[in-house]
Structures are given as structure tokens and as C-alpha cells.
Amino acid sequence: MSFPSEMLQRIELIFNEALAVPEGDRQSLIEARCQGDAKLLVEVSTLLDACVAEEIVAAARLQQTRDIRANDAERIRVGAYEIDRLIGRGGMGAVYLAHRADGNFEQQVAIKLIDLPLATDLFRERLRMERQILAGLNHPYIARLIDGGVTTDGEPFLVMEYVDGTPINRFCDENALSLAQRLLLFRNVCEAVQFAHQNLVIHRDLKPDNIFVTAEGTPRLLDFGTAKLLSPSRPGSESELTRQGFQSFTPQYASPEQVLGNAITTASDTYSLGVLLYLLLTGKLPYELKEFTTSEMLRVICEEPPHRPGHGNGLHIDTDLEAIALKALRKEPSERYLTAHQFAADVQAYLDGKPVSARHGTYSYRAGKFIHRHRIGLAAAGLVIASLAAGVEGVLWQAKVANAERRKAEAQAADLRQLSNSLLSEIDEAIRKLPGSTGAQQLLVSTVLEHLDRSTKDSRDPKLLLDAATAYIQLGNVQGNMYSEHTGDTQGALASLDKGVAITASLLEEQPKNAAVKHALAWAHRSRSEILFGIGRTQEAVPEMRTAIALFDELAAGRGSSLDTLLDSAAAHGRLGAELGVPYWPSLSDFPGALAEYLKAREIYQRAIAVDPNNIRVLQAMADNHRMVGAIQMQTDPAGALPELRAAISGIDSLHEQAKYEMAIRRMQSGTIGPYAGALIEIGHYREALAALEQGQSIYRELLAADPKNIRAVQDVEAGLSREAEAYQERASGIFPEEGANPRTDAANALKVLLDQRSVLEQILRVEPHNGNWESKLGMVLIDIGRQQRALHLENGSLDVEQRGLTILKEVAQRPDAQAYQLFDAANGLITVEPPSLREPALAVKYAERIVERSSYHNPEFLLTLANAYRANGETEKARAAAKRGLELLPPETSTTVMSRVRKLLRAQLK
């Protein structure tokens, strides 16, 4: 086959021409082109044959190669491991069976790696997160993390224990397990899930494919690839993933809140466990998903009740067992088993033939008793806290570090002192900030308190004592500081703080120059003050805060005052401002004094911003400062308060995206909308106010859904309802007519909201039964309900509602520790209640005089109430005088003054 290259060109020309025409026409084409040149014809036609043959062979060979690549990844090395074969491929990467290449171990491992060319940083972040999560999870029923690293290509990978087993449902069926055997196995799964929860990890994708059972019958939880770590140690990552829509789940096992994209809590995992139990018992899913469309998922998962288990699978499902399965599958997270442990306990109770909780009692009460029951049980048995508390200690210890090496180092150095520190900073930093954590907090508090009391007893070591004091202070705050998430135990909180003060005060005597001790003492006083203020003991709170401020100022004046010191000092000034004059809370109504403190705080924040312009804490504090100044200004000048409140709202909006996911910021956002709406109501802009409140309420509800037991979230909902009712009632009263408003509709809306508000208040009062603040709010709501019912002609002849309201108001007002706003509510209730025959103006005057005096004649609203009370009592002159004093507190009226409710009503009382 030798010929000159010109011939090759001719061959090539005809070859290409032939390829361009349909196969059937090729032969005639090449014969025509070759013009009888037999050699040329053979060349071209054999080449064309080769071309066709090559394509077929090449395709076959490529397919074969692809198969080999997929199935036989032999000789691929990942770190120190050699890949044996592909086990599975998921959305993010692949899991391979592998072994150590150096032959040190014969152990087989599973390697998870991202091997997709298009892997994004999100995947990598997820894998790193999974590694972090697994590093903290060492449990016999959870597939162990062995190693991790980065491939030569820079992709992260995980090396995990290889679980040679079958998915749990297949295991049960293939081994024909009995009902009891299935339940025992399921209970073990719950144990593993509980362990993860105690580690602040929510799995979020529990399903049979992620729960393998080994031949020995022990389960292993796999794939924490979508798990969520309840820890702010990597604050950006979770929100980032969520924002980018990477909340993957398996629809059949997903809880309603997962499908809705709402906050995921431990109860979401118990839901998935419920689906699993249902499947193990009946061999079927609790409902059928016909298609995986969003609407179908929403409909079935969020609305359709599960089929009753019946007698599927040849197992006898009695009513107790059915109740257990259905309880786990409730649509409302708060109605389910809140923890896997509770779920497991009920399954165990069933196995032991004891009554199961699913069948009796409403959940909300039993949940509170859960920890209690355990503590008593354990104490009675005289055991070292075997499962629960020990689990929590060990586990939090791990979660804090979440990094194997560091954990190892700390574990070696661990003594009591460090342990209490890590435990508490864990509570403080990790749990408190996040929604859905009150249950976990309660669990921890009791454990930690016991622990602290034990470790400080008889100790003289100043370092240990300071750490213990710090721990007591943190604990006190977790127990009852209204400024943050707390468990509602204010008495316990004060007791813890007393211990903290006692220890630090005596330490300071010994070492008067020790800044750390001084700081701890200041912090203890500040916390005490905050808690006292929170329970209405403001007279005691103010001096306590002044003591704290003096100490903080000493620290800030000292050399090298840091940003933290500045912030501490500013925050204390702000807190004092609140105690002096925050509205709607039993402050001293000293608005000018309060404003002065807030402005001092603002000055300090401005200094701090100069130091660190992007510090999120400072920016947040500044926004809060605007909010508070606005709220106080609102007392005398609502229109003037609006710019401050708007500055607060835009300040919060401009905070970094990730911070918005933190509960505190969400609360701040909702807590700013409230006063903003309040200011709008004061100047008659009801429609705008209602729109703002609607936005606020959706945030409140979201926070509440995240943690249904969180009393503060409930209180926020109440505050929103209260303002909403106010807007409708004010508009219905006609003081500032708004176009298109209908008094009857407003009355109807007001009534509806008031009824909601009543039930929320009753809910709060069940938790805090003798809190005068909520009681008097309830009294006022009852009177308002009566009034609106009358306005709508819905009265039934009985005066029960009104009388009950008055009774509550008077009862609270007569207490020796009655707060200004409680007296204020009583006075207003006594002169505005319908019908007028129920009114007691003389008593109202008495209460109103007391609050005006107590507020040192600073509060125009109180003076208005006094004027109203005098007028109702027939003392017209006194009414005029009170109104005049009230008007003097308002900014002088000019042509640009925006009329406010208080100004208008005070002016009316001048007549």
C-alpha cells in the first residue's frame, strides 16, 4: 500500500464526500468519482468500511470502559486507601468500598467523596460539615468516622466504618422478625438518634436506606450528609446551604415542617422515625405519595391523616402500639414525641406491658415533666446518671470541640473546672442562640447545677472558684434572664446569681485588681438586675444595674480597654435606660433619664463603630439602641419616634444575611415592628400599622413554631396581638377617622383578635401563674372583649366577662408589689368598662394618682388616665390640671406638629 501523498489527498477527498451522503448512495458516488481507477476504488471503499467498523468497535469499547470505570475502580487511591468498588452514588458524590493500601489494616472502609466534575463549594462545605458532625458522634449504632482528608485533586473525602448490612426494613422482613424483635431493634435506632440529638445534631434524612442492620442484628445510622449541626461554630454554612435550596430530604419520610421549609427540630427526626416504625410494623407507608410534585407532597404530608396501621404484615398492632405510631406522625411538631428518647421510652413501656404515654394526657404538660421524671427515677435508684445526664455531659463536651484533635487534647487536660466551663459556654453560645432548644436547655440546666454545686463545695482554689462563679452566672441567665432565651425559672436564676455574686465579691476582696474577677462581678450584678427587672422588681433592679455600670466603667477606664469592654459598658447603660423608662414594662417611667442613658450608650457604640465598623455585634446593638430610643420617644412624641424606629428597622435589615437566621435577630426584627406599629397607631395611621403588624406576626409565629415550648415566643405573639387589637379598637373609637374604615368591621376584627389574645394570655399564665403583668393584661382584655361584644350587640345579658376582668385588675392592683402598668390598667378598666354601672371612678382615681406620683409626673399617658379618672369622678378642675401637666410634657405644639392620640385626648380634657 505504497503511493504518493497526492493519492492520499484524492482518497481523502472522495472519502469525505462519500461520508457526507446517505449510506445507500455511497457506492455509486465513489464509483463515479474513481472513474475506473480500481486501486483508488479499493482504497476508498476499504477505508469507508474501516470507518464504519471503527465506529462500531469504538462505541462498544467505550461502553465497556465506562462500565469498568464505574464498577471496577481498582487501583484508585484516595489518601492511604485503595478503592475496591463503588457502593452507591448520590446527589453529591459517591461512596466506595475501600481498604488501606499500606496493608496495615485488613479493615474495609467506606469512602465518601465528591467525584463530580461540577461539584460546587457547597458540596464541599456539606462534606466538611458531615465530617465535623461525625467527629462528634461516637456511638455503637452510628457508623463511625475513621479518617478524612483531601485527595490529590483537592477534593475532601471521608473515611467511614463500612457497614456490611441490609436496610432495616429488609432485615426485618428477610429474618421474619417478630413484633417484639422489631420494636427492640427500632428502640435501638431511637437510641442512636437520641445520641445525635444530644450532640446537637439533627439527622434530617432518616429512612431505611440510611439505617443498616448488621448480620448480628445491630443497627447503624448512616449518611449524615444532610444533617444539621445546632452549633454556631460554623455560622455561615447552614444558612448558606439553606438559602441555596440544599435542604434535601426523602419525601416519604419527611415531616410536614420539612416539606413546608419551616424550622427543623428534633421532633422532625422523631416524625421520620414514626414513618419508619409504621413501615416496620405494617410493611407500608402511612400514606401514599402518588407523585413527587410539591402540591401533592404538601397535601399528603401536611394534611392527610395517616392510614390506621391495621393488621398489615401479619403482625398484631393493638391500640397502644397504634397510638405510639400515630403520635409520632402528628402534623404539629409539638404534639409528637419531642425527643427520640421519649419515643423509645414509650416503645419500651409497650414492650414492658406498661401504660404508654401516647394514650393519655395532653402532651404539653407531660413534656415538662419528662426531665423531672428522669431525675427522680435516677436519684431513687441511686445510680450515677447513666444514660441521660452522662450522655449530655460527654456529648456536649464533644460537640463543643467538634474537631477530633482538639477534643483529644482537651480531653487529656480535662478536669472539673474545664468541664463546667465547656458545658456552660456550650449552653450559652451554642444552644441559646438557636430556635428549638428550650427542651435541651432544661435538660442541661439541672445537670450542670448539680455538677457545679458538687465542684465548688469546700474548694479554695481561686481559679476554680472564678470559673464556677462564671458558670453560675451563665446558668442564672439561661434559667431566667428575659433578655435572652431562658427556661423561665427566675427564682432558680436569682439563686444561681446570688452564688455567683457571693463567690466573685469575696474573690474581689482578696484580689481587688483582678480584672477578670471584677468583670464577673459586674456581669453578675447586671444579670441580677436584668432578672429582677424581668419580674417587675424594678426598684431593686436599678441600683443593681448602677453597681454593674460602676464596675464596667472602671474596667473600661483601665488600660487597653477592648471592644468587649466598651460594649459591656454601653450595654449596661442601655439596660439601665430600659429600667428607668422602657414603656410597657414596669420601668420607672423616667423617660428623660432613660433617654439620657440610651444616648450615653449610643455614644459608646459610636466609639466602638469607629474601632470596628463592620462588627456585627456593634451594628446590632446600634440598631437596638435606635429601637429603644424610638420606643421611649414615642411616649411623648410618636411622630418623632418614627425616624428612630425606621433607623432601627433598616439597621437590622442591613445586618449580614447570616445573622438574620439567628433567633435574637429575628426577635429584634419583630420587636422593632411592634413599637413602630404602636407609633403609627398613636398618630392614627392604622392601616399602615396593621400592615406592619402582619409582617411582625409572621415572624413571631415562625419563632414559635421553631420552639413551641419557648415562652418568650408566646409572649411575643401576645404583644403583637395586643397591638393589633389596639389598632382596631382605636380606629373603631373614631378618634382619628381613616378613610374607608368601618367601625363595625373594626369592632368585629378587634373582638376576634382579643379572643386570640385571651387564649394566648391564658397559655402564658399556665406557665407563669402569678405574674401580675400577664394577669392585668388578661383583665384588660376581658373588659375589652365585653365592650366589643356590646358594640356588636353580642352581649348575652350576663356580665361574667366584665366582672371577671375587673376582679383580676383590682386583685392585681391591690397587691403590695403592684406595678405601675398594672395600676394603669386597673384605673383604665374601672372607668371605661361597659356597662357604666360597673365603673368605679373613685378607685380609679386612687390608682391613677399612685402611678402618676410614682412616675414623678413624667408620663403623659398616666396623666391622661388621671384626668379621665377625675372627670369620671366628677372632679373637673382636677381633670383640667392633670391634663395641663400632661400637655406640658409633650413637645411644644407648632404648625408641623403631628397630632397624637395622647395630645388630642389631653386637650379634650382641658375643656
Binding site: P4, D49, C51
Partner: protein, 195 residues
Amino acid sequence: MEPGSGEITVLLVRWQSGDDAVFEQLIPLVYPHLRQVAGAYIRRERNPDLLQPTVLVHELYLKLVDQKKVQYHDRQHFYAFSARVMRRILIDHARGNQAAIRGGGNTRVPLSDDLPWVSIGGEEMLELNRALDELNALDPRKVQLVELRCFLGCTAEETAALTQTSKATVDRDMKFAKSWLYRRLYPQSASIPTD
């Protein structure tokens, strides 16, 4: 003697214009690095996400060539040269392999997706080498194309850019070259019997 970067480009031009003796002079400059490239190339067949050999070659190019004095065609020369060196390395590899693997155990990793019926380290590599030499006598441009595509792992687009042609031309020329080589290696199966 360590030739400067200017010398490399000069040598490359001389090689490209037919001075085969220059090839041996150039080899020591790039050989160690290109052996690594070849290693990457071989491994890449098992793990397609590994770094592309072309990326490694480009790194080498940047290292060896003075960018300030670089001529328009220098990169093309360098790639063509690298591809030729790669061919030699892989053929040497196959030659050495034959003794080792004769009697089975061939994992049959395709040389490239364009020539999947030639395995790295396989006996047919030697046959392919001879066929390329033959084709080189008739049409050296096609051989360079095969070298760039199949020994250096350049994509059709990269090859088009390097040879200053269009992708369509590269594809068409590749098809012809493949058919030619296939017929040369498998003359019997190339003639599919027709009734």
C-alpha cells in the same frame, strides 16, 4: 549546557520545519516533566477528574519559554513537540510492558476516547506506532493531529486552536486518520463482508 528559553523556541522551529535531529536535543529539557504528564495521562484514564495533561503541558510551557520573547507559533510548536514526546514515552511504556504483562492481566485502559481500541500499554500500541510512522510519510499533519488528540489529550477545540483550523476540520481529519489507522491495524475486520 542549559539552553535558554530563546534557544528552545529556536530549536522548536527547527524541529517543526523538518530537522528531526533537533528532537533529540530538545528531549532532555522536557522529558522528566513529560513523564509526569504521561503518568497523569495514564491515571486519568481511570479517574477522569484528574488534572488534564494539557494543563500540565501548559504549565511546563510557561516554565520553559520566556513569555516576553515568545512568537505566535511557539506554543503550537511546543505542544506538537510535547505530543510527540508523549507518544514516545507511552510507546516506550508499552514496549516495556509487553514483557511484564504478556500472558494476561492487561487491564486494557484505552489510550483515548478517540482511539478506544488501542489500550495503554497494550501490544497494539507498537503497531499503532508503526502505522503512525507510515502515515507520517504521506501526511505528517494528520499524525500531529493524532498525537495532540490521542497522546496529549487535547480536545478538538484545543487542537483546532493549536493547528489554526476549525473544529470541523479537526473532526473530519480525525475521522479519516482513525479509519486509516483502524484499517492498518485490523485489515480483516475492516472489510465487513457484504452479500
